[in-house]
């Protein structure tokens, strides 16, 4: 075997190795695969961290993941495990509170949208982009909650009666037409 053949074989092996490394990197880690496509170029900066708004709202939120976009703005991602592949109003409120807390504590700009990543029972993960509530809407909701707990405001019932069938407190509930 001549030296030039050895050189070419070694070069081919190296090229194949580099190709394998490139393919592996392209496929990426589980974290990369779980990202919404819009965050492909973002950096994961916070995981399972607690943030506080401070006064006057006094709210605390634990984030699942926070990504930083190339322009520096932060984007929140919340993981949910459920049978139905869709985001709910509860997700939007939770992420809106997280947004206020992260912005208040870090001073960073947090995008007014976020992602709800839904993991279904079959193990499929799909991300949904949601628009978040603003400071005034959350402050109103905070006041309303306090009013309900203080007995000053009449609480609303769940919009769907189907939700009531799964509620552990339904035997104490005075909702009309509840079977």
């Amino acid at each position: 075997m001549t030296p030039s053949v050895v050189f070419w074989v070694a070069g081919l092996v190296l090229a194949l190795l580099l190709g394998a490394v490139w393919l592996f990197r392209r496929k990426g880690s589980a974290e990369r695969r779980s990202r919404p496509p819009e965050l492909a170029r973002a950096d994961l900066v916070y995981m399972e961290e607690t943030f506080r708004t401070g006064g006057p709202l006094w709210m605390v939120a634990k984030v699942d993941r926070v990504y930083r976009l190339p322009d520096g703005a932060l984007v929140l991602v919340e993981l949910k495990t459920r049978r139905r592949d869709r985001p709910y109003l509860t997700d939007i409120i939770q992420l809106s509170v997280q947004r206020l807390a992260v912005a208040a504590q870090t001073g960073a700009s947090v995008e007014p949208y976020a992602f709800v990543s839904v993991l279904d029972t079959a193990g499929r993960l799909r991300s949904h982009r949601v628009h978040l509530l603003d400071l005034n809407e959350i402050a109103d909701l905070r006041r309303r909650r306090k009013g309900i707990l203080d007995g000053q405001l009449r609480p609303a019932y769940a919009t769907s009666e189907a939700a009531c069938r799964q509620c552990a407190l339904r035997h104490k509930c005075d909702r009309p037409r509840l079977s």
């Binding site: 589980a30 605390v60 909650r145 769940a158 509620c167």
Partner: protein, 148 residues
């Protein structure tokens, strides 16, 4: 038993706030009689906790592999110098357009720079010395901003 807030100084958690989007009556009843969950909900919560644990582990292993930030690479993840640079990035650079552009450029170039640094002890030492000067400058700038 009435439910109390989980946070300090009567703070409300994001999860407690989120319940407002489901059923306000349930919040009132849970406040009066205490939180109650069905067997099915307990199973769902356990499944959720497991999924969150895996989600966190995926994120941690991904972040551990990257080593793309020069300060983290040179000083370590939780070093004082790294924290100062992070604070400077969040409090100063990310608040102006030019700063955000610089941060974006840094994020794009730092992985390859780190890859070179870990191969050369001399380059790592030189970068460490240089970064200490930068950290001192950042501290001074932050202190002046706080004074104003």
């Amino acid at each position: 038993m009435p439910r109390k807030g989980h946070g300090r100084r009567g703070e409300v958690t994001a999860k407690e706030m989120a319940e407002m989007g489901f059923c306000e009556k349930r919040i009132q009843l849970a406040h009066l009689y205490g939180e109650q969950v069905t067997h099915e909900q307990q199973k769902d919560r356990a499944r959720g906790q497991l999924a969150h644990q895996r989600y966190l582990e995926d994120g941690l292993s991904s972040r551990g592999d990257r080593r793309c930030f020069v300060a983290t690479c040179v000083f370590g993840q939780d070093a004082l110098e790294t924290q100062v640079l992070r604070q400077y990035r969040d409090a100063v650079l990310l608040r102006c357009r030019l700063g955000r552009w610089i941060v974006g450029l840094y994020y794009r170039t730092s992985p390859s720079l780190c890859a070179h640094l870990v191969r050369s002890a001399a380059a790592m030492d030189a970068t460490r010395r240089l970064l200490r000067v930068v950290v001192a400058g950042c501290l001074l700038h932050i202190a002046r901003r706080d004074e104003q």
